[in-house]
């Protein structure tokens, strides 16, 4: 069977994770990478990637590439995805799809017009614990889920705060709303909204209380109150302000309740996992998501989360930004 030829566009934080993973995929090979950083490209060449480009348009011309992974800053998604679609490359696009609903819709239209597959990178959907919840809801084990709490608190782009690690520079685009489309709500709130939409259907109504601890134009925390099609009411709390990662889904049904969480593993365990499998448990769901994308390409199946999913997420986020609650 011919392997799927992959091109990776962007070797930033998440791009580097995809770089490691894409070289370990079944039925796929990493043909080329593109990044502005010559240092990053050199590292890719040293790792065995033969074709490297500073301009991703060169990469898109390569006939050995069937699909691209786009791991660029959010403001560059539209242009890159449009060019990739026009070059007839299937697309794995990092979340959030774009800075706003209009751009996201344009990306989806481009993919449809050019008959290419489009999948959005939401790794939590490929985490066993979170997918088991979906099964429990479907099978009725929990009864009717009336209340959901989804919490994702982290350091956001200001990660690596622990004492053993040296701080790494935060790319400047993270500080500018015109590049990101928003703060913690669009960045990590999109994970939580996507997951809850998967569980409970579309968002009917949503309000938000935004926080600005770091005095930026971007919110560094958000608490959203949302109502879903299923009748479930959810409190979605996200934040970029904490050195300690906390990610948890907590569902209260008429029959039972369930709490599922995910935290950074202890460092010794991570070290063992990195040495043995080349990826930590934390990033295994990123790998599973990418493997699923490749499988969809091989078997000509529509991938999920789809581009439309990404648009719906941004619509909910946009509604949350519009419906702000202000407390003294």
């Amino acid at each position: 069977m011919k392997k799927v030829g992959l091109g990776l566009i962007g070797l930033g934080y998440v791009g580097k994770i995809h770089f490691q993973h894409s070289r370990k995929l079944d039925n796929a090979s990493l043909v080329a990478v593109s990044d502005l950083s010559k240092k990053a490209l050199k590292a890719a060449r040293n790792a065995g990637v033969k074709k490297t480009f500073t301009n991703y348009e060169q990469l898109l011309k390569d006939s050995d590439i069937d699909a691209v992974i786009i791991a660029l800053p959010t403001h560059l998604h539209l242009e890159c995805a449009r060019k990739a679609a026009e070059a007839k490359k299937d697309i794995f696009l990092e979340k959030p799809v774009a800075r706003n609903v209009t751009e996201a819709q344009e990306i989806v239209s481009c993919a449809q017009r050019n008959s290419v597959k489009l999948m959005i990178g939401y790794p939590l959907r490929f985490n066993r614990k979170f997918s088991e919840i979906k099964e429990k809801i479907k099978s009725g084990t929990l009864g009717d889920v009336k209340i959901a709490h989804a919490t994702y608190i982290s350091a956001g782009p200001f990660f690596q705060r622990t004492e053993s690690y040296s701080p790494i520079p935060v790319p400047e685009w993270w500080f500018k709303k015109e590049y990101t489309g928003g703060g913690a709500l669009i960045d990590i709130g999109s994970h939580m909204i996507n997951l809850l939409r998967w569980y409970f259907g579309e968002v009917k109504d949503i309000r938000s209380l935004l926080g600005y601890r770091f005095n930026m134009d971007l919110e560094d925390s958000a608490i959203c109150l949302a109502k879903f099609e299923s009748g479930t009411a959810a409190v979605i709390s996200v934040g970029w302000f904490s050195q300690k990662l906390f990610l948890e889904i907590n569902l209260h049904g008429s029959v039972n309740n369930i709490t599922v969480g995910r935290s950074r593993e202890n460092r010794l365990l991570t070290a063992v996992q990195m040495l043995t499998t080349g990826t930590s448990k934390f990033f295994q769901s990123h790998f599973a998501g990418l493997q699923y994308f490749v499988d969809c390409l091989i078997h000509d199946l529509p991938p999920s989360p789809s581009g439309e999913d990404g648009v719906r997420d941004l619509e909910a986020i946009s509604m949350a930004y519009e419906n702000q609650i202000h407390l003294d």
Partner: protein, 323 residues
């Protein structure tokens, strides 16, 4: 019994310091009683009174160098609390003049840009409320100076804002590190006045670089914001320390953090280069009181952190997911 013996030795050393020709500096230890702006200000005033700090009425330009660490705010114990600096500004304006020109200085670093740090860490707000200037030393006009420290010669850039100041106040944090440097406090905070952003280039000869920049800039007063300190985790220690001697105050800070100051290279070199004294006369609360409350690292923490640092150094860091 052991405590009595220690006290006796301390008293003996102090009493005989003159006879043994040991120069000693004053270092004050003051407890912040409460967590209000006023209680911080009272502790600052008390700590300065204990070392008999002589503010001069003719002082026109004051610079304050807080410790800003990445985008980690005061609650982490890594960054000087803007509330502490606000209390210091109030004190300066009371002691000198309400019209004293005050600037808060910091420079860009490898992973931190002042334009964001000032805003995110609360200094932009402070600057507006207290009418003080924020100066990014990396954008300041500088003069080149050659400074020798130990066997190393450095060509350093001295920012004009620092050169022109009548009073230079260093407001560091006490931070325990597992790396070779062990603690960072007053002397290390001045390293942050080096306008060159890519400071990691100095890391292979860090002790010499720290001492060189301290020799070039010579701050007048050190005032430690020990309200929240970072050790194995942040703790509200409620401490203010003051001294005119950066070496003596670092020695005292090392003792609080449970590190033997004679094992810290840059403190030893600073002493040799005449920046201050290893011996000090404590004033105010006892050092032991704060030492007992400092969140020191357990042996297990130290071993794990050392192992991870070593892994990064030998190039295993990437494979272990540390880099």
């Amino acid at each position: 019994m052991q405590k009595d013996f220690k006290e006796f030795i301390k008293m003996y050393l102090m009493a005989n310091a003159h006879a043994r020709d040991i120069t000693m500096s004053l270092v004050s230890f003051t407890k912040i009683r409460g967590n209000t702006a006023n209680s911080i200000k009272q502790a600052i005033i008390e700590s300065l009174d204990l070392i008999k700090y002589p503010f001069k009425k003719e002082t026109k330009n004051v610079i304050i160098k807080p410790n800003m660490c990445y985008y980690w705010d005061y609650s982490t114990g890594h960054t000087t609390d803007p509330k502490f600096v606000a209390a210091l500004i109030d004190t300066i304006r009371e002691k000198i003049s309400p019209n004293t020109d005050i600037s808060i200085v910091e420079s860009d670093a490898s992973a931190m840009k002042c334009k964001y740090a000032f805003k995110m860490l609360g200094y932009e707000k402070l600057s507006k409320e207290y009418d003080v200037k924020l100066v990014n030393l990396s954008e300041d006009i500088c003069t080149k100076v050659d400074v020798k420290a130990g066997s190393q010669l450095f060509r350093l850039m001295v920012p004009q804002t620092i050169q022109k100041a009548d009073l230079k106040i260093n407001v560091p944090k006490i931070k325990y590190m597992t790396e070779k440097i062990k603690i960072t406090c007053a002397l290390k905070n001045i390293f942050g006045c080096n306008p060159y952003p890519r400071k990691f280039k100095y890391h292979p000869r860090l002790a010499e670089a720290i001492v060189a920049i301290n020799k070039a800039l010579k701050f007048n007063l050190c005032l430690i914001d020990g309200n929240i300190v970072s050790g194995v985790h942040p703790v509200r220690l409620g401490l203010v320390m003051a001294s005119k001697d950066p070496v003596a105050i670092d020695v005292a800070a090392a003792k609080i953090a449970g590190v033997n100051p004679s094992t810290i290279d840059y403190i030893q070199l600073a002493k040799k280069e005449g920046l201050g004294n290893m011996f000090f006369i404590p004033k105010g609360e006892s050092l032991e009181y704060f030492g007992a409350r400092y969140p020191r690292k357990s042996l297990q923490d130290k071993v794990i952190s050392k192992a991870f640092s070593l892994a990064v150094q030998v190039g295993l860091g990437k494979r272990l997911g540390l880099e």
